[in-house]
């Protein structure tokens, strides 16, 4: 105890800096449906409508750029898939708009009753830019409701 506690500060800082990637797990129910009804339970968001619905999933930017993003989903439709688009853009200004986008989708005929995931890779570094994740979930089928279980975003630190 006589050893100054302040001497521990560099050790704590070193431990914190050892991580090169800042990962955040977002519950699927942070996604909000852009049109009609939605349902959330156990951290998931599910489409309770009969038709495909669009969901907006917020991502907080607090580092440099996204290295990887994974969207965990359940797809219970044998005729439609889960489709997601990740965007990275600059805030619109006098020079206009600009953004990069990447799409990922499950196969229309694929059914995943246990969570599968879509992967997005490196996004450009746009200073003071924004992220946007939008997904379409198939409508309800006799097998049940398709859902976004969670999404995992890994930013470069």
């Amino acid at each position: 105890m006589r050893t100054s506690l302040l001497a521990l500060l560099p050790l704590v800082a070193l431990a914190a800096d050892a991580h090169a990637q800042d990962r955040k797990h977002y519950p699927g129910n942070m996604c909000r449906v852009a049109s009609t009804s939605y349902f959330d339970n156990d951290g998931r968001v599910a489409n309770t409508a009969a038709t495909s619905q669009k969901f907006e999933c917020p991502i907080i930017r607090d580092n440099v750029n996204i290295q990887r993003t994974w969207v965990y989903y359940k797809d219970l439709s044998a005729t439609d898939g889960v489709k997601c688009r990740l965007k990275t853009g600059k805030i619109d200004d006098a020079s206009g708009t600009a953004y990069w986008f990447e799409d990922a989708a499950s196969g229309n005929a694929d059914v995943n009753s246990t969570p599968a995931y879509l992967t997005f890779v490196d996004q450009p570094n746009i200073p003071d830019g924004y992220y946007s994740l939008r997904c379409y979930l198939p409508g309800v089928t006799s097998a049940g409701q398709s859902a976004i279980v969670k999404y995992l975003v890994a930013e470069v630190e």
Partner: protein, 198 residues
């Protein structure tokens, strides 16, 4: 992550200080302290000062602990100051160069161009017309012109919907025409080349 580590470390230290201080009840009669207790009181005072310092360090963030002399300086930028315009210009030059480089698969190019026209005919963007679409190699360029700045602003975020397949791409305003958006999209199964990945 770093901030959480700091908070956790501070919580442990604050907790240690609290326990040390709480061991002395203010209502209990205070006998004359033996010499060892005097040392304890000194330790408690030292702990209190250090906990106060740590609380301040946590509130200011880890950068202060790395560089105490910079307390009064403005916070450093959290990322390299790369102008978005430079990245946009580099990206545009890169994809334009690729589009001009030749067309190893003309059958894909013509099919893809037709699909873009079909998509726009079936589900065009409100207030927009398809000015041009051209595909070469593994890239397509789609030019959309809008009837007004308001129409463009309303659907600019959906301009990538003009690509009828699963793609990666880049959308930008046309610097020569404020009512035009240009969409560059990769062929399905390929990725848009990025200037920082060359």
């Amino acid at each position: 992550m770093a901030r959480r580590s700091w908070a956790a470390a501070a919580a442990v230290l604050v907790g240690a200080g609290t326990i040390a201080v709480a061991s002395r009840s203010p209502d209990a009669p205070m006998p004359s302290p033996p010499p060892a207790a005097a040392n304890d009181a000194t330790d408690v005072g030292q702990l209190r000062r250090e906990v106060a310092l740590l609380r301040g360090a946590v509130a200011r963030g880890p950068a202060v602990a790395h560089a105490p002399a910079a307390v009064d300086a403005p916070p450093p930028p959290d990322e390299a100051p790369v102008a978005p315009e430079a990245l946009i210009a580099d990206q545009t030059m890169l994809v334009e160069d690729r589009l001009a480089a030749g067309d190893p698969d003309p059958s894909w190019s013509s099919d893809a161009t037709r699909l873009i026209h079909d998509r726009f005919a079936q589900a065009g963007l409100t207030g927009a017309r398809l000015d041009a679409a051209a595909c070469r190699g593994t890239l397509c360029k789609i030019q959309l012109r809008f009837e007004s700045a308001e129409a463009l602003a309303a659907v600019a975020g959906d301009a990538a919907d003009s690509v009828p397949w699963t793609a990666s791409g880049f959308v930008r305003s046309d610097p020569d025409d404020p009512l035009r958006l240009v969409v560059y999209a990769s062929r399905e199964g390929t990725r848009l080349p990025h200037p920082d990945q060359l």
